[in-house]
């Protein structure tokens, strides 16, 4: 079962965007291809994950290479890309490696932006689509449910997705490092640059209140203030506002600093030691660098925010190492479970077979005892049940043990031969 599991595809690691964007297919097309592959019997189970960074086929097939070729020939055909063009970009993982790949992808360890949260949803969507097409069998089902569980654990147990990796979110994160909760912190937005507005919006979403907006053009200040549910303040009266607010975002096109150290120092006393966080997104800078030296005042310009983002990415990388170890452990556990799963059909059909015999024999015996009272019938049932349970015990234990040791194939064959079984699932093809 494990040996027939495979994943084949291309991703941002192997294929350029020009190819990936060509292969991005809509849902209807995916549904068609998935159903077709399952229908013609190339794959026993199949699911296709298609995002802007990867196109991957997860499946169970006797000949994974064939399934891979058919799938990608069909996908490429939509946009006129021949299989020879795609072939060198494709990778294939089988068995345990496929399990590991699935876990890593769902946990966002294989993503372009390490730890980004979207991929898990995309995998879930792909799984749901395959389920709707009825191309999911026991292997993909247990693989994906486990992949979702692992992804969740990676997210909660490591910090691989925790630190901001965009400039505007880095600003929010810094504000939290300075103030703790952001609810009720006041914000002053100076200028109407796009990035400044974006950062202000993120802050407002975190519950900052009230918001003040200052702009050289009064009308622009008013309209932006309306947008952010804030108050417009005259550009000339920045200082009194500076004494009150907690966070200042500047993004004006002024050629030289509009907030100077001497001015900020003057309002510090009125601030009673409350920290002040200035986010200067303007280039050239709107805040004099010397302001950062003042006690309790923090100034971050665009470069500073970028270096925080870089540090956060490095931090995610560190956390990813722990996540990889976690995934590794889960893969081992899952492989063992999958092997267990392989012996289950044999055990089930062995039990069914004996049960069949038992029922027939009990019926025969009762036919010969027409006057049997309920107590006798019960005793017969119990006797026969006990008998088959005793007989079943040995083979069942043997099968489970052999699966753990990895040589269950031989035993499945042996026991099937011995009892004349035709187990469903397992080595056979799914209906």
């Amino acid at each position: 079962m494990m040996e027939r599991l495979f994943v084949a595809g291309l991703s941002h690691h192997t294929a350029p965007l020009a190819v990936r964007e060509q292969l991005a297919l809509d849902e209807d097309k995916l549904r068609e291809i998935v159903s077709d592959l399952a229908g013609r019997g190339t794959c026993a189970e199949i699911m296709i994950l298609s995002t802007c960074n990867r196109v991957e086929v997860y499946g169970v097939a006797d000949v994974p290479g064939e399934a891979r070729s058919v799938a990608f020939r069909q996908m490429g055909a939509q946009r006129g890309i021949g299989l020879p063009t795609l072939e060198p970009l494709l990778y294939t993982h089988g068995g345990v490696e496929a399990v590991q790949h699935a876990f890593r992808v769902a946990s966002s360890l294989d993503s372009m932006v390490l730890g980004e949260p979207q991929i898990l949803g995309q995998v879930k969507d792909a799984f749901a689509l395959a389920q709707a097409c009825r191309t999911v069998g026991p292997v993909l089902h247990s693989l994906m449910s486990q992949a979702f569980a692992v992804a969740k654990r990676v997210r909660t147990d490591t910090e691989v997705g925790r630190h901001a990796v965009s400039v505007s979110f880095a600003a929010v994160e810094l504000a939290r490092k300075i103030f703790g909760g952001l609810g009720g912190r006041s914000v002053l937005l100076v200028g109407a640059g796009e990035m400044g507005e974006l950062a202000a919006r993120h802050l407002v979403e975190e519950g900052t209140l009230p918001v003040y907006v200052a702009n050289r053009t009064w009308a622009r200040a008013e309209s932006l203030a309306r947008d952010l549910a804030g108050t417009a303040v005259p550009f000339e009266e920045l200082l009194p506002v500076l004494a009150q607010v907690d966070i200042v975002i500047t993004s004006t096109a002024a050629p030289e600093p509009i907030i100077r150290a001497a001015e900020v120092e003057r309002v510090l006393h009125a601030r009673r030691g409350r920290p002040l966080f200035l986010i200067d997104i303007a280039v050239p800078r709107n805040v004099e660098p010397a302001v950062n030296a003042l006690d309790g005042v923090f100034v971050y310009d665009v470069d500073d925010l970028r270096s925080v983002v870089e540090a956060n990415l490095r931090e995610r990388q560190r956390q990813a190492q722990r996540a990889e170890a976690l995934v590794e452990r889960e893969v081992t556990k899952f492989a063992a479970r999958l092997r267990d799963l392989e012996v289950v059909p044999t055990i089930v059909s062995l039990r069914e077979k004996l049960e069949e015999i038992r029922r027939a024999e009990v019926a025969r015996a009762l036919a010969r005892l027409p006057g049997a009272d309920p107590a006798t019938r019960e005793a017969l049932e119990a006797l026969s049940q006990g008998l088959i349970n005793k007989v079943l015990h040995g083979p069942t234990v043997k099968l489970r043990d052999s699966s753990r040791a990895g040589h269950h194939r031989r035993w499945i064959e042996f026991i099937s031969e011995l009892f004349g079984l035709h187990p469903r699932g397992g080595a056979g093809r799914e209906p």
């Binding site: 910090e159 490092k177 300075i178 103030f179 920290p275 006690d295 309790g296 925080v308």
Partner: protein, 268 residues
């Protein structure tokens, strides 16, 4: 017996400190949990050790400097446990436990034999010691949070996120903690030391100014008084307040050191 139990407690504190620091540096939550369990275990042993000593000696175990320091640690660790649980400041132990250890490891050596004059063990002295004790415990925490503030502030100013940035609470949380611990410590310290001065002034007369522990205590009180008034009246920023808290704690350590090295009237 109490010495053995105390050593067990101290060992648990050492392990807890190592675990807490490792959890901070390598950002491992599981080590943080281990640190909290070890801290709690250490504290329970410590409680037993203090109680046993009291029972063995048949008197409150706060009459020698060593006993006082031990109880200061006991209170500080208790507050650490509460702070970590209530406020979720898991990095606190990493800063507090080393301080606790620095104090605790001194106990078996120099501090042990220092005792108050037997005739001085009156109710007055007990109140004096108890008040100063609570004050000192709060100041240990004050130092821990001030140190964390300074480190976090430096990292934020330098704009290079590192260990502290990723693991420590926000600046305002630390600032509030520093202020609260100082505000709690100061009245206890003031009344406790005041009682001591009044009482010793009567008993020792002019010898009071020759007692190093008393002298250093007064210097320490002045530093903390300056810090508190700076914050309340002068509206100091967090950084200056934190630096003063650290200076204050250095004087506190010097005070204890002076108590050990120079045997003034406090010594026997």
């Amino acid at each position: 017996m109490n010495a053995v139990v105390f050593d067990v407690a101290l060992t648990a504190y050492i392990l807890a400190a190592v675990a807490a620091l490792s959890s901070l540096i390598w950002r491992r939550d599981d080590l943080g949990r281990a640190a909290r369990v070890l801290t709690l275990a250490g504290w329970i042993c410590h409680t037993a050790a203090v109680a046993l000593r009291g029972v063995e000696l048949g008197r409150p175990p706060v009459l020698t400097l060593a006993e006082v320091v031990s109880v200061v640690i006991w209170v500080a660790v208790l507050v650490d446990l509460v702070v970590e649980r209530r406020y979720g400041i898991t990095a606190f132990g990493a800063f507090l436990l080393p301080v606790v250890l620095a104090l605790g490891l001194g106990l078996p050596t120099g501090l042990r034999d220092l005792a108050l004059e037997p005739q001085a063990s009156s109710a007055w002295i007990l109140v004096h010691v108890a008040l100063v004790l609570v004050g000192l415990a709060a100041l240990v925490l004050n130092f821990g949070s001030a140190l964390m503030y300074v480190l976090q502030e430096r990292q934020l100013k330098a704009k290079r996120p590192g260990v502290f940035y990723y693991r420590m609470p926000s600046l305002q949380t630390l600032d509030r903690l520093t202020l609260v611990t100082l505000t709690v410590a100061f009245p206890f310290l003031t009344v406790g030391l005041g009682l001591g001065v009044v009482r010793a002034g009567r008993a020792w007369g002019r010898d009071l100014v020759l007692d190093p522990l008393a002298l250093f205590s007064i210097v320490m009180w002045l530093v903390y008084a300056a810090t508190l008034s700076g914050r309340v009246v002068g509206r100091w920023g967090g950084r200056r307040a934190a630096y003063f808290a650290i200076v204050g704690f250095c004087v506190l350590l010097a005070t204890l050191g002076a108590g050990v090295i120079f045997q003034g009237r406090h010594g026997s």
